[in-house]
């Protein structure tokens, strides 16, 4: 714990000194992502301070997203970036990557042809027996997984999509440029969801952690919903902002 240097003779509160020491060690690279920090009890014993002070130090760092607690495992350094976007712009991954001065990489995990999926058929107004292509795609910015997608594209609107859909295509590129379908609007519903283990694993979070679950319907004139997407964003690392003005 040579990153801790506390001076009880100065006026700066001890919790703040502890938080500053850890924060500085993270910033100058002495403490790396996922480094396990001492328990609050260990800090109390070492520094001869009360549990409240140690707790406050860690709470301050958690609030600032610099450390994270994992139930049953401990407290860890967290250098993962927060995906901060305006609510209406949550799909603008390229822009976020640019703001982060980082690159985004897309990875298609699965391509599949499905029929008679009740939810998908109902949302896409498909008839019994109509087929839909399903793509599972993970999008990372730098090393951070920011979005996992289940993309449902009905065969009747997207023939040959297995060949035409490139892993780096946005849905805009696919619909507007490759299928000549002008998007009228994207209707999204957002809710909170506990991550099943397979999705947690992809998003590099713990199973049961909260995630944003977004259902997106791409609406096309004369068709209605032509593409149906399920987006999953890691809750702890995604913050969506909206400003509402009085009418």
């Amino acid at each position: 714990m040579n990153y801790l240097e506390i001076d009880k003779t100065i006026k700066i509160p001890i919790y703040k000194q502890i938080a500053n020491c850890i924060s500085n060690a993270i910033e100058d690279g002495r403490l790396k992502h996922n480094f396990k920090l001492p328990t609050e009890k260990e800090i109390c014993t070492l520094l001869q301070i009360s549990p409240t002070v140690a707790k406050k130090a860690y709470e301050t760092l958690i609030q600032d997203h610099k450390i994270k607690r994992i139930k049953g495992k401990g407290t860890f350094v967290n250098t993962r970036n927060l995906f901060e976007m305006q609510m209406h712009e949550f799909y603008q991954i390229e822009r976020y990557a640019t703001l982060q001065k980082s690159k985004h990489t897309n990875h298609i995990i699965l391509k599949e042809y499905v029929t008679n999926d009740i939810v998908v058929n109902r949302i896409l107004h498909l008839n019994e027996g109509d087929g839909t292509y399903l793509f599972l795609r993970l999008i990372k910015v730098g090393d951070d997984p920011v979005l996992f997608q289940k993309i449902y594209l009905p065969e009747k609107y997207f023939p040959n999509v297995i060949e035409l859909f490139d892993k780096n295509d946005s849905l805009y590129t696919l619909l507007e440029n490759k299928y000549n379908m002008p998007i009228q609007n994207i209707h999204n519903t957002l809710s909170a969801f506990n991550a099943p283990s397979e999705i947690a694993n992809l998003l590099d979070i713990e199973p049961d952690d909260a995630i944003y679950f977004v259902q997106s319907k791409y609406v096309i004139d004369g068709i209605g919903t032509a593409a149906y997407i399920w987006d999953y964003l890691p809750g702890e690392y995604s913050e969506l902002e909206v400003s509402v003005y009085a009418e």
Partner: protein, 256 residues
């Protein structure tokens, strides 16, 4: 009350288990808003009769939907998936009015009130005066007596003198601020995250600890551009909200 048995479909020739088909069929009806909040679902007996399948299969499907927060746990089975947002997130509407707009009777239960003094840094971080004293209240907003949102408010006493004495705790805050202080909520900035519900909030919302919940950190500014309310809310798990992205917005981004 509506009984929606005719909307629910399963395919008896499919290899997908009936339990899963039933669950997905009801989920689809909820997602496309055929079944909205409080819709009464058919009884287990009615579905068993309609599809000629064992009641235990239907019971399992209902149980699984209840576990995921889509419906109530016992007969009468009702949809609990709640659309609040069009009335709340994108308009300058209070939670109280939003509950009225979705057709429920609102009520507010106060859990805790106190005056608090944050550190100078904390006050500055939030946007209050460095030496501000705040009136804190934690309240549960309910619709038809069912908890929907827990909201904690921090209110500056320098702008709202005496609010710790005057506040009628069962009243919505916006209305009270206007009537007592002539202050209007002009701008509300909301930052939302999906979080695991802490134990205390879970108890207040009748939810399991750690269930996923939308958290919103709100800052409300008055007509003089002053921060008059800093709030943190947690919603029940079955709460969701909508974001509609227009063609203009899409083109503005992709055509740049």
């Amino acid at each position: 009350m509506l009984n929606n048995i005719d909307n629910i479909a399963i395919d008896k020739r499919s290899t997908v288990p009936f339990e899963l088909q039933l669950k997905d069929s009801i989920k689809a009806l909820i997602f496309d808003q055929t079944f909205i909040y409080n819709t009464v679902l058919p009884t287990i007996g009615e579905l068993s009769l309609k599809f000629d399948i064992d009641t235990s299969i239907i019971e399992k499907a209902y149980l699984s939907l209840a576990k995921e927060g889509y419906i109530t746990k016992s007969d009468p089975y009702k949809v609990t998936y709640l659309e609040l947002t069009n009335h709340f997130f994108f308009r300058d509407t209070t939670i109280y009015d939003a509950i009225i707009e979705i057709g429920l009777t609102p009520s507010i239960e106060t859990v805790k009130t106190k005056n608090v003094k944050l550190t100078r840094e904390e006050n500055i971080d939030i946007g209050f005066r460095p030496d501000e004293t705040l009136f804190y209240m934690k309240r549960v907003y309910k619709g038809n007596d069912v908890p929907i949102i827990v909201l904690e408010n921090y209110l500056p006493l320098s702008i709202l003198p005496g609010i710790d004495q005057k506040m009628v705790l069962s009243e919505p805050l916006g209305k009270f601020m206007f009537e007592q202080y002539g202050l209007k909520n002009v701008l509300s900035n909301r930052k939302t995250k999906a979080v695991n519900l802490p134990l205390l909030e879970a108890k207040l919302l009748n939810q399991r600890k750690n269930i996923a919940s939308i958290q919103s950190v709100n800052k409300v500014y008055d007509q003089y551009n002053r921060l008059i309310d800093y709030g943190i809310s947690h919603a029940v798990n079955n709460y969701y909200f909508e974001v509609n992205i227009s063609r203009d917005e899409i083109l503005n981004y992709y055509k740049k």
